[in-house]
């Protein structure tokens, strides 16, 4: 006899014993009743427990590895996808915004002034060739770097210097270079520019901000180092490298070149109406595509603009 059956038999016995109550003298009936009730409750609760313990035995188990029960339609959930470049850009924007940077966007057709002149490239300087710019028949330029927005950002937020003592802006956007496309080169890609101006801005602050950004981005402490760079619009100029973070499989000693940066050239400040005798600034710009490629271990940059759902549905 199973435990449950024993309990049920016990319950029957108790129910039968209840009948004895009428043979008892009235003064004893109360005591007897209470005693029987308490016994009955104990057995009922034991029965519930025993039944619960046995519940799963009476339910049909299923194959958790299968997508559906036999003869049932396989459930499909319509899944959309966000482009990984846009997702990453949003994350970058979020971090800079949290750090205190305003966010504006560049425009995809710009001019020689914003691409070069406002950035202290002298007319006809060979440094202009390094940017492999496209041109329209009118001479407009699809920007080859987000630095096209430095001049606009400095002007737009100039009043902040009066109110908050600083200009802090980042500019994420699409840029274009006349380059042959291969697994590691795209003529269309994304960058994020940063601009900071105050009376006391230093190169040490620039490296501090950038290190902090990458630490927030990768969620860990990171080492940085630099190498000299040349940009007509910053002086001094540098390239920033970070030690490959653990989340990307870095084991220390591997360095990733992340962006170009420098102290804003006094001519760039002057041209935007900011007195370089009073204010210093720093600026930087780095690629977004590379962040995504590193993150997902992608080997071909051409997937991004391919429009292939086989690729995009992974995101």
């Amino acid at each position: 006899m199973s435990e449950l059956e024993k309990l049920k038999a016990e319950l029957k016995k108790i129910n039968a014993e209840y009948a004895k109550i009428k043979d008892l003298p009235p003064e004893q009936r109360g005591e007897f009743g209470r005693e029987m009730n308490s016994k009955k409750q104990a057995i009922l609760s034991a029965i519930t427990k025993a039944e619960e313990a046995l519940e799963s035995e009476n339910v049909a188990p299923l194959d958790i590895s299968a997508p559906a029960a036999p003869n049932q339609p396989i459930p499909t959930i319509p899944t959309g996808s966000e482009h990984p470049l846009m997702t990453e850009l949003a994350r970058v924007i979020q971090i800079y915004s949290d750090m205190g940077f305003n966010v504006i966007e560049p425009q995809q057709l710009d001019d020689e002034f914003h691409m070069f002149d406002s950035l202290n490239f002298s007319k006809g300087h060979p440094a202009r060739d390094g940017y492999d710019t496209f041109r329209t028949s009118e001479g407009f330029i699809p920007p080859a770097h987000t630095s096209t927005m430095q001049h606009r950002a400095l002007k737009k937020y100039q009043s902040d210097l009066e109110t908050t003592g600083q200009i802090a802006v980042v500019v994420p956007g699409r840029v274009f270079r006349n380059e042959d496309v291969d697994a590691t080169h795209e003529h269309t890609f994304y960058q994020c520019e940063g601009v900071y101006v105050s009376k006391t801005a230093t190169m040490g602050q620039m490296f501090g901000v950038l290190k902090r950004f990458f630490e927030l981005y990768y969620g860990q402490k990171l080492k940085i180092k630099t190498q000299p760079g040349y940009f007509p619009f910053t002086e001094p100029s540098a390239e920033l490298l970070i030690e490959k973070p653990a989340s990307l499989g870095g084991k220390g000693g591997d360095w990733l070149e992340m962006l170009g940066c420098g102290m804003i050239h006094p001519n760039v400040l002057k041209m935007a109406g900011i007195d370089p005798a009073v204010y210093h600034g720093f600026a930087w710009g780095g690629g977004i595509d590379r962040l995504v490629m590193l993150k997902y271990n992608l080997t071909d940059v051409r997937y991004f603009e391919s429009g292939k759902l086989d690729f995009l549905e992974e995101f």
Binding site: H83, A90, I93, Q107, T200, G307
Partner: protein
């Protein structure tokens, strides 16, 4: 650019404590990005110089059987006579010469890093050959394959280690030129070495320059335009009768390490001097020079080319000049394209007896255009376009004369501008305040003088209290949070004389860069700026895009695409857009990327077929990006007005996309959308030429047009080889944004129970659904009810002239529970109102 570490070490003594690896790291962090470090030692390992003792022709072959003396090396391969047998196919092999032996087990240097061809002992025509005797090309030190390399017995003996004799136990740094764009001095080994010295904190010992005072120098023979050619120096002399050496020379190896090839002694010398000093030289045949110009005396005129003027260059090509080109002329007859290439008419050849050697500097702006116009990317023009200093032309010319050992019959120099002193003033605290450092005056001074700046210190009056501005050059003094000078109370002004080779240093910030870089940016203490907590602003368009992406991808299961901003004319034509409205890229990569797109939708349509082909059956693509067209005009900056559009393409019909748009715009963004039919031939139909107008609608918010959507025309689908129903939308988000700002959302919930009723109305087949829907809504609205009206079905028998429209109504009063009388009244009103428009409740 390839830099030999051994060559650098000739100019700088590297402390023992600094390993090559550390030196390279320092160069990478303080001078230039090192793209690749090439260790030559393994490539030239175990290569031995041998003496060919006997060389006997093998009959009926081109081969020679040689016995070579390896000075006791590889005795395992030697015969009883101590000699090693090698079969050689080269015509110049002969007994007594020193040659380079690649022993069995050695990798042929030419194949190193590629197929790594390892030599063995094998039989040739029945004769055993131990490895081979190498030609220059096999050693990867040139292109010569005419015979085996011969070694000068003055430099080596049998058994000498080849790599040691020729300095091939070397490390080559391949450095990124771009980061030295402003540093002409670093395009010469001397300049590069000076920087290496600087980053090691050592004073650089400048190589001694020849004093021009020892020479008679005239300027009479040269006319230059200083704008185009700040300085032109040249010398005329008899070409030394130096036969090309039959030996493999140290010069040839030097050139090979820099990635250049040995040509002849004269050209090699100019190239070597260029590699060392950064100053390119060019040699003309003097007699041809005179003949071409029709003069008996040298008359050099450097001038801008005339439009259409032609010149045949050394490589045989005839170029048509542009007015940006600079020409070297002999009495006004062009003889060279300045900075780029000499002319065929003054080429040095076997008959040349006298030469003119040119050492000049040209406008880098003009040469850049020359480079682009004629596609000439030589080592020389690479240097000229960095802006070689005028100061260097004469010293390098004199060095060439010295090395050639010639006595010039004429030295001429035109330098109208002359030397000018370049002085920059800055204070110690201005340097520190920009870098965020605390370097003292002495350290800064030392750092600068190490690399050839001369620095005079001038104490200024003490600045106390608040930060001020030094009038002389206007950088804020001191900074750090306190605004106090960083050291003591005495401010020191540094009066810095910039060396002539630093054509890039003009302003105080240039000096700050030198100090920061040479002392190491990595040594700057990190800090964070501190500003007030004012919050930040994210551009409204960015926020809208983020919101939309979330709705479209995550709520509506669409796929976000990014496609190129440039499209083909063909694509524009396929969708019926006016090609002339697109901004045209004049230097596009391909015809596929020639026009800036006017809308997003065509790019998405272009991606549908390949996704169907790869097995996707049902999908909706969208992209949010910028577009423009000529008619959008220019903004206040004078650049095209861009608009940010949302394009959607779905494998489905009008109504499926309508449901998506409703969910995205009305439910998602809370924008109240109105639809307007597109009439064929209307402006709207022209704006969206790929939409079938009678199956499309324009979208409005209030009176503002925000876009359109509908089914894609069959004729357009055919052009994309598409058959399934396809609907597309193009929404102008700038317009949506304007509306969104003014939108108020009124959501009411009643605390009293709602009445639910299903209503079916019979109407004429051509009754617009919206008219019935609006009528029902206006009745409920008029009763001041809280209500919803949901369409349930639209039923129409085939060919019937009526249809049944069913709605599910839910309404409640904000004031109390509706009783049956009130409900009847409402239904009666609905019945009357709908009947008036011809919709009968059934």
């Amino acid at each position: 650019m390839r830099i030999s570490l051994n060559e650098i070490k000739k100019y700088v003594s590297i402390p023992d404590a600094v390993s090559d690896q550390e030196l390279i790291t320092l160069i990478g962090s303080r001078l230039v990005e090192v793209e690749e470090v090439i260790d030559l030692s393994p490539k030239y390992r175990d290569i031995i110089i041998v003496k060919v003792v006997t060389a006997e022709k093998i009959p009926d072959t081109h081969l020679t059987l040689c016995q070579v003396d390896a000075g006791g090396k590889r005795s395992d391969l030697a015969g009883e006579d101590g000699l090693i047998q090698v079969v050689c196919g080269a015509p110049n092999v002969r007994a007594g010469m020193l040659a380079v032996w690649l022993a069995p087990g050695v990798i042929v240097p030419q194949t190193y890093g590629n197929e790594n061809f390892k030599l063995g002992t094998r039989k040739l025509q029945g004769y055993e050959s131990n490895g081979m005797l190498a030609a220059v090309d096999e050693l990867d030190l040139g292109t010569d394959h005419a015979g085996i390399a011969e070694i000068d017995p003055k430099t080596a003996q049998p058994g000498s280690d080849f790599a040691e004799v020729f300095g091939l136990n070397d490390t080559i740094l391949d450095v990124e030129n771009k980061s030295l764009t402003h540093r002409p001095d670093c395009f010469g080994l001397i300049g590069f070495a000076r920087e290496v010295s600087g980053i090691l904190g050592q004073a650089f010992t400048e190589p001694e320059l020849i004093d021009p005072a020892d020479y008679q120098i005239t300027s009479a023979q040269i006319q230059i335009d200083p704008e185009l050619c700040p300085r032109y120096s040249c010398a005329v002399f008899d070409l030394p009768k130096n036969e090309p050496s039959r030996y493999l020379t140290a010069d040839a190896v030097f050139l090979a390490k820099a990635g250049m090839r040995s040509i002849d002694p004269m050209v090699d010398l100019t190239n070597i001097l260029m590699l060392r000093t950064g100053q390119p030289l060019h040699a003309f045949d003097y007699d041809k020079f005179l003949t071409v110009g029709g003069t008996s005396e040298l008359n050099i005129i450097v001038r801008a080319a005339k439009e259409g003027e032609t010149l045949q260059l050394l490589d045989g090509k005839v170029i048509e000049c542009t007015p940006d080109d600079i020409l070297i002329t002999s009495h006004d007859v062009p003889v060279a394209l300045a900075g780029a290439m000499g002319g065929k008419n003054t080429e040095i050849d076997a008959s040349t007896t006298r030469v003119v050697l040119e050492s000049a500097t040209f406008s880098l702006y003009n040469l850049r255009k020359t480079q682009m116009a004629h596609g000439i990317f030589s080592e020389a023009i690479t240097r000229f376009t960095k802006g070689q200093p005028a100061a260097m032309t004469m010293p390098v010319l004199l060095e060439a004369i010295k090395l050639l050992g010639v006595a010039p019959t004429l030295i001429a120099d035109a330098y109208p501008g002359g030397e000018s002193k370049n002085v920059v003033k800055i204070t110690t605290s201005a340097i520190n305040s920009l870098l965020g450092t605390n370097y003292d005056t002495e350290k800064i001074t030392q750092t600068l003088t190490n690399v050839g700046f001369s620095v005079a210190q001038k104490p200024l009056k003490a600045h106390k209290g608040k930060s001020g501005v030094i009038a002389s050059f206007g950088l804020k003094i001191a900074s750090r949070a306190s605004g106090e000078p960083t050291e003591g109370n005495t401010e020191v002004e540094l009066i810095i004389t910039v060396p002539a080779w630093r054509t890039d240093v003009h302003i105080p910030e240039d000096i700050i860069e030198e100090v920061g870089r040479l002392l190491g940016y990595d040594n700057i203490p990190l800090e964070l700026p501190c500003g007030p907590f004012t919050g930040t602003e994210i551009a409204p368009m960015l926020q809208l895009k983020a919101e939309l992406r979330n709705i479209l991808s995550n709520r509506l299961a669409m796929n976000e695409l990014l496609t190129y901003s440039f499209v083909s004319r063909n694509l524009l034509e396929k969708v019926g857009q006016d090609v002339s409205e697109s901004y045209e890229i004049v230097n596009s990569i391909s015809p596929e990327l020639q026009c800036f797109r006017q809308q997003i939708t065509p790019s998405l349509l272009d991606k549908v077929r390949e996704n169907i082909k790869s097995g996707h059956k049902k999908f909706t693509l969208y992209e949010i990006n910028q577009v423009t067209s000529r008619q959008a005009g220019l903004d206040a900056d004078g650049v095209p007005v861009m608009s940010t559009n949302l394009g959607i393409v779905c494998l489905g019909d009008f109504y499926e996309l309508k449901a998506d748009l409703f969910a995205a715009l009305e439910r998602g963004l809370k924008v109240d959308i109105e639809y307007a039919q597109i009439a064929p031939g209307s402006e709207a139909a022209k704006r969206y030429p790929y939409l079938e107008p009678v199956r499309s609608a324009e979208l409005f918010v209030g009176t503002t047009r925000i876009g359109a959507f509908g089914e894609v025309k069959d004729s357009v689908k055919r052009k994309f080889k598409l058959e399934t129903p396809i609907a597309a939308a193009e929404i102008e988000l700038d317009r949506v944004l304007e509306q969104e700002k003014t939108l108020t959302v009124d959501i009411q919930l009643s605390k009293f129970p709602a009445v639910e009723r299903d209503l079916t109305l019979k109407t004429a087949a051509d009754m617009p659904f919206g008219r019935v829907n609006e009528t029902i809504r206006s009745v409920l609205q008029g009763e001041q009810l809280i209500y919803s009206v949901k369409p349930v079905s639209i039923y129409q028998q085939p060919d019937a002239d009526t249809k049944n429209l069913s709605f599910h109504l839910k309404f409640a009063s904000p004031n109390g529970t509706l009783d049956s009388t009130q409900i009847t009244t409402i239904i009666d009103k609905l019945t009357v109102a709908t009947a008036q428009i011809g919709a009968m409740i059934v």
